[in-house]
């Protein structure tokens, strides 16, 4: 078990895969990390030495924003839009799609489960 970036404990998977369990690290940045700290991508997390884990930890601290910090950053960006009173902010406030998608149908991800409309049946 290795603790990287706070609470995350990736398992006995290959290192680039295990790193993607951290919010803010996808496969691209996971591979980048492996190359930067010179870890062979075929190796697994439980084969890593303490110093290697430390190196990974330090690389992430120095170069990436992950987990809580990242979430806070995203929330701040959304809040900024909402406070500005611009169109994107209005869409966030209403929980509707922000990037010009149609809302006549679909858009269920933003709108949530469909609500029944009273008296719509024939």
């Amino acid at each position: 078990m290795a603790r990287i970036a706070g609470v995350n404990i990736p398992t006995n998977k290959r290192v680039p895969i295990a790193l993607t369990y951290i919010t803010g690290i996808g496969s691209t940045s996971a591979v980048e990390i492996c190359e930067a700290v010179k870890i062979d991508q075929a190796r697994r997390v439980n084969e890593l030495s303490d110093s290697e884990v430390l190196a990974v930890r330090e690389y992430i601290d120095a170069n990436l924003s992950v987990e809580g910090d990242l979430r806070r950053e995203v929330q701040m960006n959304i809040k900024r839009l909402m406070d500005l009173g611009c169109y994107r902010g209005l869409r966030h406030r209403r929980n509707l799609p922000v990037r010009g998608q149609r809302t006549h149908t679909n858009a269920r991800t933003r709108k949530g489960p469909a609500r029944a409309i009273a008296g719509k049946k024939k």
Binding site: R80, L84, G85, C86, Y87, R88, L90, I117, A118, G119, K120
Partner: protein, 92 residues
């Protein structure tokens, strides 16, 4: 695709003229503009623009965060009050 940098930001010329006039002279009145497509430039910060939304001019106080966006983003064009309760359904 975003606009080429070498073109510079797009602003309708009359917006620039009006802004310059109000920067020089008696400040603090709403500058009425119809050009929703114009970019908000750094020198507009602190001015108040009345951005037309098709019906009336919505006063928009320009702050630093708004630089680079368009005037139209701050003047919603649609009114939506939500769906009223269906009268037929109520009677039942």
């Amino acid at each position: 695709m975003s606009r080429s940098v070498w073109k510079g930001p797009f602003v309708d010329s009359y917006v620039l003229k009006k802004a310059e006039v109000s920067l020089e002279g008696g400040r603090n009145e709403v500058i009425k503009i119809w050009s929703r497509r114009s970019t908000i430039l750094p020198q507009f910060v602190g001015l108040t623009f009345g951005v037309y939304n098709g019906r009336k001019h919505i006063p928009v106080m320009i702050s630093e965060d708004m630089i680079g966006q368009k005037f139209g983003e701050y003047s919603p064009t649609r009114t939506y009050y939500g769906h009223g309760a269906d009268k037929k359904a109520k009677r039942k």
